[in-house]
């Protein structure tokens, strides 16, 4: 169980109130944090990691106090056993891809695990390249698997899929979920991508400032613009350059258009989840 109750005056002219965060996260949960640019998401992760000192409050992880403003406890980051995917990546320029991983790994003999990480990110062929010779997306993949390499207890990811194309990002999302279940780490993922926000997650946290241009205390409230329905596919049929999928949801029959490729994967009697956020609609199969 992670309990966070902290306050930090972020020197921004946007809001006159400090960033206040109150959160409870169960061990092994997968939590997505989202919010507008500049609202304090990175700062929150940095405070959890111990890279930024809250002005006041307490961070408690599995009954261990990591930070307490009152009795000046501030556990060094080294002892927090984290994995951190930095928004600016922070790869080690002097090390190759493999050396980055080996440096990060607790147990360098765990070769098969590192190989697996390289495989799920399609990075096998780049193992002996230095970061400066990698493309933006390749660098981002390295940052993700470097954080995973040491099998952390808590994984903090700051917009880890932002430079990846849709397919690769989806692949990584799936692999991350598998590792998350397998290694049982707690995951805090900062993202603005609907594919993260609408995924199967344990908690969704929105960092948001009040309407009075104040940064409001944040909590476990689901987003206002997000919602989802579950239904059963009745029919899939072509229409112009696209396909239409008929889905029964309670008393309604929805008719949703989709691209040929997605349509191929849809068959009558399948259960699907339809999620929508901010004008975007996402179909995903269940089970």
């Amino acid at each position: 169980m992670i309990k966070i109750s902290i306050e930090k005056a972020i020197p921004t002219t946007l809001y006159s109130q400090p960033l206040r965060v109150n959160l409870e996260i169960g061990t092994g949960e997968f939590v997505v944090i989202y919010g507008k640019s500049g609202v304090g998401k990175t700062s929150l992760l940095r405070m959890i990691a111990g890279l930024l000192k809250p002005d006041q409050g307490v961070i408690e992880v599995n009954q261990q106090i990591w930070f307490n403003h009152l009795n000046k406890v501030n556990l060094p980051i080294q002892k927090r056993h984290l994995g951190f995917v930095f928004q600016e990546l922070a790869l080690f320029p002097n090390m190759t891809v493999m050396e980055n991983l080996l440096y990060a790994a607790n147990n360098p003999k765990d070769q098969s695990y590192l190989q697996r990480l390289l495989n799920i990110t399609d990075m096998q062929s780049l193992r002996s390249r230095k970061p400066a010779t990698l493309s933006g997306g390749q660098q981002q993949r390295l940052a993700i698997i470097r954080a995973l390499a040491r099998k952390p207890t808590i994984l903090l990811l700051d917009e880890p899929f932002s430079s990846l194309d849709y397919q690769l990002a989806q692949q990584l999302r799936a692999e991350l979920k598998i590792l998350h279940k397998e290694l049982k780490f707690t995951t805090l993922l900062v993202s603005h991508d609907p594919n993260d926000i609408n995924g199967q997650i344990d908690q969704l946290v929105e960092l948001k400032h009040g309407n009075a241009h104040q940064l409001r205390g944040t909590a476990l409230h689901p987003t206002q613009n997000k919602s989802s329905l579950i239904g059963k596919i009745l029919r899939v049929y072509p229409f112009e350059s696209a396909f239409i999928i008929e889905i029964a949801v309670n008393q309604e029959i929805l008719k949703v258009p989709t691209d040929p490729k997605t349509a191929q994967g849809c068959h009558p009697n399948q259960m699907v989840q339809i999620t929508f956020i901010d004008g975007q609609i996402l179909l995903s199969q269940l089970g």
């Binding site: 060094p76 951190f84 600016e88 922070a90 080690f92 320029p93 607790n106 400066a132």
Partner: protein, 226 residues
Amino acid sequence: MDFNFQPLILSLELSLITTVLLLIIGIPIASFLAFKTFRGKSILEAIVSLPLVLPPSVLGFYLLVAFSPNNFFGKFLDSYFNLRLVFSFSGLVLGSLIYSLPFMIHPLQAGLQALAPNLKEASYSLGKSKKETMFKVLLPNIKPAILTGMVLTFAHTLGEFGVVLMIGGNLEGSTKVASIAIYDAVESLDFRSAHIYSLVLIIISFVILLITYGLNKRLFDNRVHL
């Protein structure tokens, strides 16, 4: 004419020892100055630079006085460690360490300060100690700065003269280094010896520098762009 290789070998030895020791001493000092902020930091930085300002022979004179067995420090070393720093190779080493300190500290500090702070953070986040972070992440990424510090220190100690002249005592085989030998030759109007010493010194140094720079170019290939 009066030329032999002993002074040259002695000079190379002195420079090598000084450079290695200063690298060991310099890294913690430079990282302290680069990363810590505290009141009076500028004062500490100014003190580190001071050995630069005093003319070497003057610095040598004060070291002579300090090391002299007449005075507290010299007496202390003599009676407790049986160590005499005047007219001995160890004294030259200590003198050179003091004299060349800023040449090592400055480049290292500037190099560390120029590093993106999140490299350090990333290493810490992986549970790595300060030491491991320093040696495996920070230092390997400031190779040009380390090279600068080492070249300046090595070459400067090789050419050092004022301090050595003062506290060395010109003893064959232990304190008569190349710079002194050349000076001696010039003073006694034995220009041929002076030319030969200088030439050999220059050639050796040139080769060492050449190798160093050549290696550096090969080693420092992190930021190759297509």
